[in-house]
Symmetry: C2
Subunit: 457 residues, 2 copies
């Protein structure tokens, strides 16, 4: 397996060049204008897997964007690793804040800069190249199946149905996912918990048309003001969320577990300096690591209404809108939380306005086991390539499909990601370190090796 | 003067056709992309005044959009009426809510539908056509001067300087303005009070870049949430504005004056039905007519931040913005109120965010006299053409230049407008009744006649 080092040295320019081709296709799943591009990206993934040596490579249509499936079965008696990833990306706006166009990747100062560089095209491509290495050198130690989807950034709406329809084909032993971060390039880590998600859009309607704020102002409910008041009431003075029942199912961590979690390397000063804020802001009684790791949140993702152009317009608008999302922790249930939010929001609406709540997508929180063969294999693989044992961490983000895999396939996941929190995923100037990309390609074959060996025992 | 009826009958198709030409030019003063169109509109006004018979017609440049000046001096010993109006219009968005394109006027069901149809191109054009009638029939009974500006919708920023530089040329006896409404087509009215305006834009900055709401959510101040909380705190539970000192200079009306004001024809049921709201919403202790007429307001005009596109994006944005405006009543001062707002908003900002307040434009509240020759002339003219004495009302809107004229030229204004509150000015599908347009053309010559006669006495 140690040939991986020299294989990377020999091929890294090609790997980077191919990754840039992958990043150049704007696979924005949220925006229907990119539908063709998303389809072209699926074809790119298919072609890459074929070239790397996979069998039965197939673009599986769904009512939304397609899923790319591939496999290499070397021996039915050996264990099977299912690799999951996604080839779709977040919208790139605000475009004006990018230093280079989001879909024209550049490699600069050791960073690959493009939308999707880290989340998740770069990390998906590590798996394709690690697989290529194992195939070309006849080193694949077990079976592998790939499921690379195109709707992760919009809630994986059609993955569940597809999985249920393909249970036989998807039989395996563990799910391997690279869509998370390590603490630092010299502090490897593995996510052992992910928050769930409830994402909703709200609409507040006041008068039936936009009005002149001079003629009607002061006498009619202004939907922007009402929306702001309703949002303000979603948290109390301690930044606890006020939705009745919101915390009912939250599993509280023991003091010992909280103490353990807070041992992770973290500098509040560096954190504030990095974000250029004079203070952090969150739920009273919890540290920043707890706020982002083990506590549920209510976060505003977007708001709009009225006149937002240049200059001044004295309008009292008819409608105001917002998008907001709640991150969930074990044992919260996303459908329940969405319902509690909707009921609360509708109940809060004062006379003079109508409100509408539209759920976008949800996902369940998960905790992955640290005593499994797969976790041990990932830990040993990272220790081999980083020279340090990885730290188990609780990630704040959500990969809703982890709970889905568990429910539908009965399989646990291992979250062996190689990004950094500073990679600006979902933001302008998203990037992925060349170091991280190559380190992923280097580490993955060791995971397969360790996993195959430990499974034998 | 009674020939005006037959003149209108003979020429009304041409009047409407010319007005449509005027409306077709998109003179959006707030948006710099329309600069050339605004200039073309000024030229249209100039040409119309020349054709109607005015002298010394001139497009007067300013650092912003130009002012069109014209005059007809028939005898220096006669009184002089200064007609003020504006040829610029509000932005037309949201475009998708227009039933026909805003700058392609259509006449349908007795309504001229276009941006600016009522506010204020249609009303300006009534004066041009009434003047044409008086000139062609040798009936102009006194001197007239026109000042038609192109920056009313953006705060008349350069009118003050221009007036101060042209005091000699602008000498006169009264300002006549048609930029307001009547109560109904069978209930004529004249505005005797206008609210002032303070318009501000605010920006709240949290982290220095857009963040992933999963990774950072719950731990960093979200500028949308903070902005909403700050806006919510601008009013208390009685919808009183909480800015310290905001009400200090407000002149309270006597009970008798309030009782008089509430005698104006008004049906709360019709008002609610027209706006499709189940209740009105405003400052406790005041009626709807008081809320829109004699009380100051704080109104949200626009808000934006984060992801506002299709679908879902789990972003914790760096910035959120809002536009808001306060309507002021006698004796509030717009610069003082703007300062009080800015100080309050900056003081309210919690740790973890930075805020910025940008004043847009302001204007002072005014009350116009009802015992003047000019008011009597307007009242008699309307009584003549509507067959009913007009009711004096307090308008909720602002025409900041009324205070400016008083200060710089020492002249009072008469607000003889012919629109309706239902004309959707500043909204999609703005319109102006053909009845109202022609009624204005019919009434204006009587005003001149009455004003000249009463001035002699």
């Amino acid at each position: 397996m140690d040939q991986i080092q020299s294989y990377i040295n020999e091929h890294k320019d090609r790997f980077l060049s191919e990754l840039c081709d992958f990043l150049r296709i704007p696979s924005v799943s949220a925006d229907s204008r990119y539908k063709e591009d998303v389809a072209r990206t699926a074809a790119f993934v298919r072609d890459s897997l074929v070239a790397a040596g996979a069998d039965h490579v197939e673009i599986c249509p769904t009512p939304g964007h397609p899923i790319v499936y591939a496999e290499k079965i070397i021996n039915a008696s050996l264990p099977t690793v299912l690799v999951y990833g996604h080839y779709d990306v977040q919208p790139a706006d605000p475009l004006e804040l990018w230093d280079s166009p989001p879909f024209e990747p550049v490699i600069k100062d050791g960073l690959i800069v493009a939308r999707g560089a880290c989340d998740d095209k770069g990390q998906v491509f590590m798996h394709v190249k690690a697989f290529e290495f194992m195939m070309r050198n006849n080193l694949l130690p077990c079976n592998v199946k790939f499921m690379i989807e195109g709707e992760e950034e919009v809630g994986s709406s059609h993955l569940g149905d597809w999985i249920r329809a393909n249970k036989e084909r998807l039989k395996g032993d563990v799910i391997l996912i690279s869509d998370t971060s390590i603490i630092a390039n010299d502090i490897p880590s593995i996510d052992v918990g992910l928050r769930g998600l409830s994402y909703v859009e709200v609409e507040v309607t006041g008068p039936n048309r936009d009005l002149h704020s001079g003629v009607y102002g002061g006498a009619v409910a202004n939907p922007i003001s009402i929306l702001c008041e309703m949002i303000a009431k979603m948290k109390d003075e301690n930044n606890h969320i006020t939705i009745p029942g919101f915390y009912d199912d939250v599993v509280a961590l023991s003091s010992a577990d909280r103490a353990e979690l807070n041992k992770a390397p973290f500098s509040l000063d560096e954190y504030k300096r990095d974000l250029d804020v004079n203070d952090v802001h969150g739920e009273r009684g919890y540290t920043t690591l707890e706020r982002t790791g083990i506590r549920p949140t209510f976060e505003m993702n977007g708001i709009w209404g009225g006149y937002t152009g240049e200059g001044a317009k004295t309008v009292l608008p008819s409608k105001a809108y917002a998008k907001c999302s709640m991150r969930l922790v074990p044992n919260q249930d996303s459908a329940t939380i969405t319902r509690l939010f909707a009921e609360h929001f509708e109940r809060m609406a004062p006379e003079g306005v109508k409100v509408k709540v539209t759920p976008h997508h949800g996902g369940e929180p998960v905790v992955t086991p640290t005593d499994s063969v797969a976790f041990k294999a990932a830990s040993m693989a990272m220790e081999k390539t980083f020279g340090k044992k990885p730290i188990p961490t609780r990630g704040g983000g959500s990969i809703p499909i982890v709970a889905l895999f568990e429910k539908e396939l009965g399989l646990k996941s291992v979250l062996m990601g190689f990004g950094l929190d500073s990679d600006l995923i979902h933001s302008p100037n998203e990037h992925f370190g060349v170091f991280n990309f190559l380190k992923g390609i280097e580490t993955i074959p060791y995971f397969f090796q360790q996993y195959a060996e430990l499974s034998k025992a």
